[in-house]
Structures are given as structure tokens and as C-alpha cells.
Amino acid sequence: MNLPRATVGLDIGGTKTLAALLAPDGLVVAQARIATTRGADGVVDGAVRAVQGVLRQAGQDAAALGGVGVGVPGIVDPATGTVRHAVNLGVDGVPLPLARRLADELGVGAVVENDLNVAAVGAAHLLPEPDGRSDDLAFLALGTGLAAGLVLDGALRRGSTGAAGEIGHVPVHPDGPVCACGQRGCLELYASGSAVEALWPPGTHGRSPDVPAPVALFEAATAGDPAATAAVQRYADAVAAAVRMLVLSVDVRHVVLGGGVAQLGEPLLEAVHAALVRQEAASAFVASLALPGRVRLAPGHVPVGAVGAAVLARAIPARPAAVRPAETA
């Protein structure tokens, strides 16, 4: 019998790499963060250093691990652990066999997934359902772009081609501005973190460009600035539209708000709740969906994506004990 072992998860982003150490009982016991190095070799080397960094805090080395999981922003073949395309990591020409290279470097098995998928798995792990019900949620990432990861009936839903949850590119305003994807008026233009920057550009309204746009916008609204209040409402309406879209498509029990904008915490949740309540008032049908009760914030103080990657690594089968090479006859 193989005893469950600790695993490490990584969430490799364009600027930083987050790591989490998951104890065999599923507890997140340590975390680390380092700057991401771009390019295939940089990504592999950074991943190894991040794993070692989180292990050092516990006085452990990779031999103690059951496996390593990795989330990357890009197109991944989870079956082989190959990153096909990840522009933000500088991996866009030759596919990177990340799982194999990490396994070679660290001597443990590795799995690789898309970053939204690991975030959804991490959210499901950190927000367990009571009464042993299956996890059922969408992790809605309000970042540079807008997309969701899906865990449905307890299983990760990648989609037949990996496109499940890419709701940022559903056009919602046919006459809207042209999106980078070529369509017009995509939801991403209204509900992403970039949309907040468009509504309330950093460095305007008397604020330093160093203050993140969501912080500046919500602070101005709290201070009673009518333009900010209107902008918050407009943004919250767009996030509410994304929530409604996810629930009407797959009827997830929870929609978890994550990504940079979600670091606003309660004020964002309150604004989105208010927007959902406004929409309920206009439609008994929408009201019947009980949308406000489905929305929650991603848990704080933990790197959700890295935790999800560590959860996926638990499924890595134990390696057979090293076989002594047969002596030459």
C-alpha cells in the first residue's frame, strides 16, 4: 500500500510563480513566490526553484513528494504535460514537455494543466461542500482577460477542445468596440480587470499610477464620487452578466470570483450582489435562479491556483521502487 504523500503545486504566471505545499491530508502548509523567468529553460528552472523553495521551509526535499502539479496560462496537453502555447511565458514556438522535464529534474511525477483549470480545482478543494456533495463550481477569473474554470459534479470540465469556460469572448454588445479576438463587444471588454482600467484609468482622478485601478475606483465610489459610483455599478453589472451566463449554461452551484480584481474582497462581492439583486427585480425567472447566493470570493491568504495544481498532483501514481539494474551477465 502506498501512503498518501505531500505534493507541491505551482501557478506559473507571466510575472510571478506561486507555490504551495499540500500535506497528505490536504492542508495547505506552506507557500512561496518567485519571479517568473520567460522561455522554456527559464520556466523549467524557475519551476524547480519554486518547488525547492517551498520544500525548504519544511526542511524537506523532492524525494518526500508524491508529485508536482503545474498550472500555466496557455494551451496545454494535460495527457502528456506539454505546453503548446503560452505567450506570457515566452513559450510560443516549440512545444515544451514541461511535465517530463520537471520529472527528470526533480525525480517525481508531474502533471501540467491550464491555469484556470487548476484555479477551479483549488477553489473546490478550499471551499469544500458540506454533507459530502460533489464540488460544483465555476472559478471566474477577473484578470487581464475574463474566463472561467469549471468543476462540474466533482470533475474538472476542460471541454472537448479545452475551450470550456472561455466566456470572455461571448459578444454582449454587437455594436461595441472591436475585441483583440476580432469580434465586437465581447464580455471581456466589460467585466475583466482590463475593463476596470478602461473605466478608471490608473493615474487619473488625482491618484498615483501605482494605485491599481480597481482600488482607485472602489475607493472613489466609497468616498461618494458619483462618476465612480456609476462606474462601479456598470462594472458590477458586467460581472453579474458573466455569473448569469455561467449559471444558465451549466447551472453551477457556486461561482467563485478570483483574479486580480477579486483582491478587492468584500466591496466587490457586495457590488456584484447588488447588481444581481437589481437584475432579479426585473425578472421573476432570474430571481428563481437565486444568483446572489451562488457567488462567493476566492479564499484569501492562499494561492488558489497553486493549491489546485497540488491537488491534481495527488492523482499521480506512485513510482515503482527503483529497480536495481540487472548485473551484466
Partner: protein, 260 residues
Amino acid sequence: MEVVIATPQELAVLAADAVEALLRRKPDAVLGLATGSSPLRVYDELARRHAETGLSFAQARGFMLDEYVGLAADHPERYRNVIEKEIVSRVGWAPERVQGPDGLAEDLAQACAAYEESIAAAGGVDLQILGIGTDGHIGFNEPGSSLASRTRIKTLTRQTREDNARFFGGEVDQVPRHCLTQGLGTIMEARHLVLLATGKGKAEAVHQLVEGPVSAMWPATIMQMHPHATVLLDEAAASRLQLAGYYRQTYASKPQWQGL
């Protein structure tokens, strides 16, 4: 602040009682661990109770106060290795459940921030064991430390490096110059502080801690602002206390139901 003056062995039993009561009430408690000579008898007592009465650390978690910067992962004086030897391996604690700051991180500031997040994600420290330096430091918060500080890099004083040279073959130059330490603000968020001090060398620091003005010159004095702080002293460490008689009287007449 409660002050108890007793023999070193009695102090260890009292501290271990507090840890045991916590673990029995809350098996997944978060313990704050200190290195140094002061807590050694406590760890011995906890190891004895684990072996003889089955006191379990299986679900508990531990966070260390501090770590040297730059000591190799396998260096015997690296605090994560010291704590492994002194308590973790002796009480059947899974190593991954006990964390220390990463003194080998390429980005030390990020490592400190991540460490704070780990403590917060664990729900904070329930009981923090502390020692005190001759210059009044707790953790490695040397004189002049911000009373509101968080986990960060600090430069060790000459005094601390000389005090610790005995662990490095008596050579001060072998003692690292920098460390990562939980800040005084971090330590103050622990729900119960239990500080142990023994020996004449600690008497002045103990006097300042208990009876001096709150000041960054004697960083441990911030504990006067903590709602639940226990100071466990032997006779020598208590020898400069002005109100020692009152502390003894208070402890002697303490209600039975009131633990530390």
C-alpha cells in the same frame, strides 16, 4: 502579564501543560516554535509525554520564529534542522506540518510575505513559545525593531552573534550576519505568548520585559501590550525584578481553575 518564578524543570512542566491543554482542546492547533536554549526543557517534556502518554501532534501545525539567512539546507545549525532534531522528530510530527522562513530564498522579501500568508492561512498562531536574548530580543527582533514589524530580514547584533558563536565552533565569523524573523507585530497576533528565561544573564532583559517602559530598545517589552502573556522564570532570571514578591504571592494564590 503573568509572571511565574520556579525551578527550570517546573517551568518546563508548566509550559508543556499549556501546550498539552491546547492540543487536547484543539488537536489541529497552531504552535509557534522557538529555537535556542530556553525552550529545550519544554521540548524534552513534550517528547516524554508523546512517548509515555501518547500526546499527539499529528494534526497540529508549527511555525518557527526565525531562520538564519544563507545557511546551506543541510547545515546542522539551520534553525529548520535544529527544530527537527529538538522537537519535530521526537513527537511524531510530520515534517511538512512545521514551517520556517526560507533563509535561502532568492527573493527574501517575497519569502517573508509568503510566510506571513502561510501563518494567516493557518488561522494564526494559538500558542507561541518564546525565549529572550540578553539584549531583550524576541525572535530575532533586535533593539530598534519596529514594535509593529512583520516578518522581514534583520541584521544580527554583535552581541547576538557572540552569544550564538558557541553553536558555530566558537567562531563569531561563522555566525550569519542576517536572519529572517517574524516581526513583533506578527508575534503579538499569537493568541497566547509563553516566554521562558533562565539564568542570571537574562535578568536585566527580564526586568525590562516585565517592568520597564515599552520601548524598541528592549523589543520584548511589547509583550506588556498582549492580553495573554505568560513569563516563566527561574530564580536567577527573576533576580532583578522589583515586584518579585508580588508575582510569587499572585501565583501562590491563583485560583485552581485558572491555567496559564
